[in-house]
Point group: C2
Chain length 427, copies 2
Amino acid sequence: MTSVRTLPQGIMPDLELARSMFGELERHTRVGRGIVRASYGAGEHFAHQLAERTAQGLGLEIETDAACNLYMTLPGRRRDLPRLVVGSHMDSVPQGGNYDGAAGVVAGLSAVAGLKSFGIVPRCDVTIMAIRAEEAAWFDSSYVGSHAAFGRLAGEALDVPRSDTKRPLADHMAESGCDVAALRRGEAHLKPAGIAAFLEVHIEQGPVLEHAALPVGIVTGIRGCLRHASAKCFGDYAHSGAAPRSVRRDAVAATVELVHRLGQHWAETERAGADLVFTVGQFNTDPLVAAPSKVAGETRFVLDFRGLEEGTMRDASRAAVRLANEIGARQNVRFELGEPSYSYPAVMDQGLRGRLSEIATSVEIPAMELASGAGHDAAVFATFGVPSGMIFIRNSNGSHNPDEAMDLADFGLAAQLLATYIARDLA
Amino acid sequence: MTSVRTLPQGIMPDLELARSMFGELERHTRVGRGIVRASYGAGEHFAHQLAERTAQGLGLEIETDAACNLYMTLPGRRRDLPRLVVGSHMDSVPQGGNYDGAAGVVAGLSAVAGLKSFGIVPRCDVTIMAIRAEEAAWFDSSYVGSHAAFGRLAGEALDVPRSDTKRPLADHMAESGCDVAALRRGEAHLKPAGIAAFLEVHIEQGPVLEHAALPVGIVTGIRGCLRHASAKCFGDYAHSGAAPRSVRRDAVAATVELVHRLGQHWAETERAGADLVFTVGQFNTDPLVAAPSKVAGETRFVLDFRGLEEGTMRDASRAAVRLANEIGARQNVRFELGEPSYSYPAVMDQGLRGRLSEIATSVEIPAMELASGAGHDAAVFATFGVPSGMIFIRNSNGSHNPDEAMDLADFGLAAQLLATYIARDLA
């Protein structure tokens, strides 16, 4: 066996395998301008079959679970040790791109191909997991596949209709060969205790790496989201010229002040060193009633706070309520921010992060640490107590659109980091 | 002849005549919940016929012009002197109220009835003018009737279709008995030199008098309007969680800052003693593209500045451009405020304002001075150099809606002020 510690460049992944898989995915799942791999739909099925075929070619052990998640295992020297799971999803949003999700499965397979070409047999099993149904675009909630793998798919989730077919998840699963009854019973295929770590390679969905001119990112955590999705402000409609300041109840003026001051709260929070992003992605006056010559009597808007710490998001929400009360009293309007929805942040394992950074430095892969703003299956593994890590690949034009763009050279560096981690830390 | 200067209460108008006219208007021009008196439509015709019938009953001289404006004249002792015109319009917006416009004509007739009951013959003619087509809701521009009376109705205005029938103004005028050819030739019925003054009684369209608990207002001027009606801000759509502050081009954050700071400019302008109101009545993200989890790449909004001085409005517009440039550069977005539309303010005659205030004080009519935010025919008379004044009547629930509400007692005080002015100053 080659001593991988002496290889200065680490383990090179099989980029021909990767290029071929991306090409096949592209040819078979492009519909018009974008990629369509609906959860439990034809595009996702094709992707899973392609992964299985490729894994068989590499001699990996194949398994599926009750939710048709696919497990492709490179056996380790000791089968009884907790294994490393390397995974991501293979579905896409409607009219999405070719890399969001799939790149993680392809990275796992090309890394394993690289390990095999070096003749490396790791200490424990390394399982590449092609996860089902991660995208919330289809069944209104994320992580169907990874929740199901842990036996934690909620019963009511099975009744949710798919956004295109209007038929429930349970039907689509049954057609795909899933064991819906087992899912309803909450049978788990994965046990946290059986997993040493979970690693997910994924394209970055923001522009941080591109702006930093770095190909690879090591994720510190997946931001949670606290969202007031149906916030409203109520004032009174009035003639814009005839209503002086003292009698106005101007919903736009009040909302504008609230949003502006929450932007200042965000800046102060960042200066204090905490992780937070604040976004008002929707802000509207009433299309049927508002007019250029009327003081606006109503606004509707969304307050979206994301961060790596629950406390930071709760603080921001409390600041919103406090400011809404203060501005509402002063401007004589009424805010209804509503109860916020909340999804937990997931912190990536400190030890894994450190090792990935050390290895990137040692094999000269230019990398930086960054937070993930979007959710990923890694958040589910972290929530179930599995030490988890993520490697991001630089990506242009955002994700969830046909223009997402990943350079194969950048992909290669991420897969190289993954393979070298396995070779060195699971040697 | 009674010496009116010795009557402490001034001249009382004929409120039974007013009550009867408002009742007839209400019964004949209510359609569903609101009043409909379309310009050159059935409701407006009825109102003009009612005014003419009432004027005949009072023995006034009747005349119409090429645009079917109606002139009802109480002859003065000297017919060669420039006359006083007392007028307002009789059309309404679709689903409007019973008083917006009509109250001014009814006030003129009930004041004249009061003068006659005291046996007063004024020094010069007093003409009550029922003006056609003031509301922009029907032919897309205000003041059709008063412009036509001065021979200044633009030729292209005659081709504008009415919002309900889609047939041009010229057709509706011809059907009403107007002399469209004379209007096209620009023949004037009114000459500014022949008019000593113009007085218009009108319900207030804002809540100022109601908040001040005063029945009557004396108008300082009619605010002009400088409006950026199609202002836009362009940024970039991005994932709300994955795009940090440094790379964002957030159209909502930038627009919110612009509107908030223009609100501060308004407050500073008011503190400096200038007349200005600032309104953003419409503020929208793109309904097709914006989403709760996306940084907004575009906003559309309206900046509406109104004031009694052109300079104040131009300053505000320049402040908007300067702030848009500053914020755009700092937040990395691009504002397009567009060329503003502009309508001139009209200052009411200082001498008339002073006399109306003195008379109100002397006959103990509680009154205050205030600016008019909405446009009125008085602005046209002022623009043509006629010394003009307006008397506002307290009104609940705004105007241009079925709920506008005027107390007949308040109306009586406004008509009393008008009648007493005529009795004292045109004695």
